[in-house]
Amino acid sequence: MKPPAFEYAAPASVAEAVALLDERGFDAKVLAGGQSLMALLNMRLARPELLVDIARVPGLDSIEISGGCLGVGAMVRQRSLEFFPGLADSHPLLLAGLRHVAHPQNRNQGTVCGSLAHADPAAELPALAVAAGAELVIEGPDGKRSESAEDFFITYLTTTLEPAELLVEARFPLLPEGSGWSVQEVTRRHGDFALAGAVVTMRIADARVADPHVVAFGVGAVPLRCTAAEQALAGAEPGPAAWKEAGALVSEAVEDPLDDVHASASQRRSVAGVMASRAMEEAAARA
């Protein structure tokens, strides 16, 4: 389990990184924390000719709150975000979600943006990004662009990132005042990828559900924004009946879920609904 040979570059700026990526196209791969990539390299399942290590680019490790968003730079380690002062107040959903990501020993090295760019549909961070309505700031040869997380994920391990583009920042809007939130998932063991999970945010206004966001993960090729469930929830009276109905809509929305040694497709579909219902209940209680 030793990686194949590759070249290595440690550019000093985003522009330099993008130039390298542009020059080498699909033969180059970005290295951030490496928590997914390095395992693939050790198994020789990935064989880039060039690794572009963005850890030496100044400024990519900043976390800041501005314009109603929590901005997380490309080299921000998951653990650094977890320890970001005040995160429990400023973005409790992200904090709760991060604690489900693998183990501290992985989060110390793994980056938030790296997980988004890797786009494993069973991972928590892509689902959190979609649920929170994150905007992803992408830099390429033609300059900067921004894309919503919901549009960013295309399919398994695939995003809209072009080979020469770099995800430089993820901007997570702060939850509106009075929001409740929840992350629920089923794993074989603590820290494993989810068999199925759900992220829910909502407010309660005038004893009715307002502004619900429901995202299921681990059940399809990308994090699944469940608009039917959201529509059913919006204006509904909070309670088990509403959670059950909306949960069922989540299950219905799941198309062609993964069937593997850990869970069957029908189980994933069903459990996604259960997790969503449980997340709705918890989010409502927090709202």
Binding site: R189, H190, G191, S264, S266, Q267
Partner: protein, 803 residues
């Protein structure tokens, strides 16, 4: 002085026992916690090359051609070998059952995914793996035998054409009047079960460094060998070398649990070393190799079990039918696991009529290897699970049906139907202690009220026997027919009066060196820190086997006591000369050789040893002047197996009773362990702390077996669980905290009354958890009869089979 080796603490030559039976700190720990222990991957030899192995991607295929020319020409590559070299230079592996072995590299055809095809030796592991990518193997696919049922089909492809069948062994063993027990039964309870493949997965995989000296044809193998001499003998057979030209040097290993393996790796490295003019070649099996085709796959079983009962719950007959998928060859001695249940076939129960209908078949999966427990864990589960089913049908509590069938405490030694003799025990006392400790009545009430609310909460109460101190005769039915397993220790005193014990096994975690030091420290009235334990290689050490079969703790106690006793007699003879009295007038007490009738006339053993070393000229000629002695211990009274496989095999029978509380989440199929209690009795506890460590480790592995661990293959025998993301080892979150209590019924047959306990809870935990899950499911009329009870299986049971 006594002329007999002491076999109780009272007989030791000290006025106070200070070390045996105490939680003595382990001698090996400082080196381990500082990272200084020399595991095999730390070994670097001059000129050493690194081996990487290209493995079969097909489960069953003819090898059409292999082109390794580009790899051979790569810079840094010193040798490339294929199955053709193996067939030219070696013999196929010796196996049990006999005649189901292959060469270390696949020759002509491959029988499982991951089978070694081509091996490369290069100057680094990185380069060796690069070279593998340059090798082209052309395969012609053969029909695949993907499971045991497929192996038995009339038109099944054959793994070994020369046998004309995939059946390695098919035989029915009958002990007692089984048919009449079933004919006369008030009730017959029967069920089918499936136990899926799982395995050892020690944190350190196998590794070796091998050099084959072309000058003198001496083969030196360093590695994490669990049983170096046994491994060495097998290498001499495979490689065609005289046994005394194979030197095995065993390094401490990072766990084993029976599943270290490495036979093929050593042979491959030997051939590579020969091809590279005798350079040492290192192979460290990586985790993907281990999961894909290492020695970590065991017990792939389909069971049918039947109990014959009287109305009162007395079990009068037991029938077990087992179909076991052994994989592509019998090279790793996995068949032993099908034989070992004979040592405790009827568990804790006095069932004198039993039958074992055994079929072992070859399939295109990885050959089975041993794993902690060596076969009984699945057997115990199906027996205990069926006892629960019988209890349910008879309206008896699980505790009550067990109690009614126990071998009574006054019946020991007790010969079970399958021929082994249990040494001692008090099963009812263990049960009562457990029920009392856990407040069983309260737990039952809690379970009942939870179930009344519709919660799937259940209790599992299980008791088992752990056969301890293995003997080959237990495995006679699969072709290993010898009797007696030696373990030797040499104890020597140096000129400074310090004690050194020399022995032939390396450490793998159970703390045996510390145990030897405890025994010798008490014998000679010193401290364990005064005793050095020195490992010796296979050609230097006294006769030995090493760890395996819950044996070593008992065996080394016997060997250390025996050697100490022989040394004491030598010292006494010399002391008698020096103190001018008869040798029978001298005894050892508290470290001094003293005149029995005149205790103040005494010499410290160090003085006596010093005299032997310095002034042998003063001693009578017939005295051997070396202050050292060797004793080789074997279990007493073992008998060869009869034609029905019956033998006095395992010397001891430890007993454990576990109770576990679980809750099943019906929405997700997951299981939470909410409580765990156990009482166990493994005789005298020579080091209670290490015994408890074995118990807890066994529980963790049992949790893995019941809920997490499984090697999954698809319908073309392609493995689907080849990383730690898919083969799931229990973490700290999954292993419960356990409330424990120890009982002590000493063994009358072993030195100091200890029983084998190294496999411990692995015998019991899987059964206990499964019985608890089935108790939880019982209100729904469902039963989980496949291990592991993964969320996938339980969810299917709850949602797709519910009717």
């Amino acid at each position: 002085m006594s002329s007999r080796i002491p076999n109780s603490l009272e007989e030791l030559p000290v006025s106070e026992i200070r070390w045996i039976g105490k939680g003595v700190e382990r001698l090996e720990d400082p080196s381990l916690v500082t990272g200084r222990t020399e595991f095999i991957d730390n070994v670097v030899l001059p000129g050493m090359l690194h081996c990487a192995i290209l493995r079969s991607t097909y489960a069953h295929a003819r090898i059409v051609s292999i082109d390794s020319s580009a790899a051979e020409e790569m810079e840094g590559v010193y040798a490339v070998i294929t199955g053709r070299d193996a067939a030219r230079l070696t013999n196929p592996a010796t196996t049990a059952p006999e005649g189901w072995g292959a060469y270390c590299l696949a020759h002509e055809k491959t029988r499982f995914v991951g089978e070694p095809m081509v091996a490369v030796a290069a100057t680094s592991r990185y380069l060796a793996e690069d070279a593998l990518e340059l090798i082209i193997v052309e395969y012609e696919e053969l029909p695949v035998v993907a499971n045991a049922q497929a192996a038995l089909a009339a038109d099944a492809a054959l793994l070994f054409e020369e046998h004309g069948s995939n059946v390695m062994l098919q035989r029915k063993f009958t002990w007692g009047e089984v048919d009449s027990a079933f004919d006369q039964a008030d009730l017959v309870v029967s069920d089918d079960y499936r136990w899926n493949r799982l395995g050892a997965n020690p944190m350190e995989t196998f590794g070796c460094v091998v050099d084959w000296n072309p000058a003198d044809d001496m083969l030196t193998c360093r590695g994490s060998f669990q049983s170096q001499s046994y491994m060495g003998l097998a290498r001499s057979l495979v490689l065609g070398l005289p046994s005394n030209q194979v030197r095995m040097i065993s390094h401490p290993h990072g766990g084993s649990f029976g599943g270290k393996g490495g036979f093929r790796g050593v042979d491959i490295c030997a051939l590579l070393s020969k091809a590279a003019s005798g350079r040492p070649v290192k192979w460290i099996e990586d985790r993907l190799e281990y999961l894909l085709a290492g020695a970590g796959q065991s017990w792939d079983r389909e069971y049918t079990l039947q109990l014959a009962l009287k109305k009162d719950g007395t079990v009068t007959g037991l029938r077990v039918k087992l179909l076991d998928d052994m994989g592509g060859t019998a090279e790793a001695f996995g068949a032993v696991s099908a034989a070992k249940p004979l040592a405790a076939f009827t568990g804790c129960y006095a069932i004198q009529a039993a039958e074992y209908d055994l079929t072992l078949v070859a399939t295109n999966k990885v050959p089975q290897s041993p794993y902690r427990g060596m076969g009984p864990p699945p057997h115990n589960w199906v027996l205990e699970q069926t006892m629960d089913k019988a209890a349910r049908e008879l309206g008896l509590d699980p505790a009550e049906i067990r109690r009614r069938n126990y071998i009574p405490a006054d019946a020991f030694p007790y010969t079970i139907a399958s021929g082994n003799e249990y040494d001692s025990g008090n099963y009812e006392a263990a049960l009562d202690a457990l029920l009392d400790m856990a407040d069983y009545q309260k737990l039952c009430a809690e379970r009942d009220s939870a179930q009344a609310e519709g919660r799937l909460l259940g209790l599992g109460l299980v008791n088992t026997i752990e056969p301890g101190v293995f003997d080959w005769n237990a495995y006679a039915i699969v072709g290993l027919e010898s009797t007696g397993v030696p373990e030797g220790i040499t104890v020597a005193i140096d000129v400074m009066g310090r004690i050194t014990a020399r022995l032939g096994f390396s450490l793998e975690g159970q703390g045996q060196y510390t145990l030897v030091a405890q025994v010798l420290a008490d014998y000679f009235a010193v401290t364990p820190a005064d005793v050095s334990i020195v490992y010796q290689d296979s050609l230097s050490a006294p006769p030995h086997f090493g760890p395996g079969g819950s044996r070593l703790g008992v065996a080394i106690t016997g060997a250390a006591l025996g050697a100490a006793h022989l040394l004491e007699r030598k010292l006494a003879r010399v002391a008698a000369v020096l103190l001018q009295c008869g040798p029978d007038d001298v005894e050892l007490m508290d470290g001094f050789l003293r005149v029995r009738a005149m205790p103040e006339a005494k010499m410290h053993f160090a003085e006596v040893a010093g005299a032997m070393l310095a002034r042998s000229d003063l001693l009578p000629e017939d005295i051997d002047p070396q202050p050292q002695a060797t004793y080789v211990w074997t279990a007493p009274g073992r008998t060869p197996a009869d034609e029905q496989g019956r033998a006095k095999s395992y010397l001891t029978a430890a007993n454990a009773c576990h109770l576990v509380k679980v809750e099943v989440d019906p929405d997700t199929g997951t299981v939470d362990i909410l409580g765990y209690w156990l009482v166990d009795d493994c005789g005298t506890r020579l080091n209670p702390v290490t015994v408890e460590g074995q118990t807890m480790g066994g529980i963790a592995q049992g949790v893995g077996a019941a809920l997490l661990e499984e090697y999954v293959y698809d319908e073309s025998a392609q493995p689907l669980t080849s990383s730690f993301m898919d083969y799931l080892l229990p973490s700290v979150y999954e292993v419960p905290r356990v409330e424990k209590k120890a009982l002590t019924t000493p063994s009358p047959f072993t030195p100091l009354g200890a029983k084998g306990c190294g496999e411990g809870a692995m015998h019991t935990t899987p059964a206990a958890i499964m019985c608890a899950i089935n108790d939880a499911l019982s209100p729904l009329g469902l039963s989980a009869r496949e291990v592991p009870a993964s969320p996938r299986r339980l969810w299917k049971l709850l949602h797709e089979n519910a009717d």
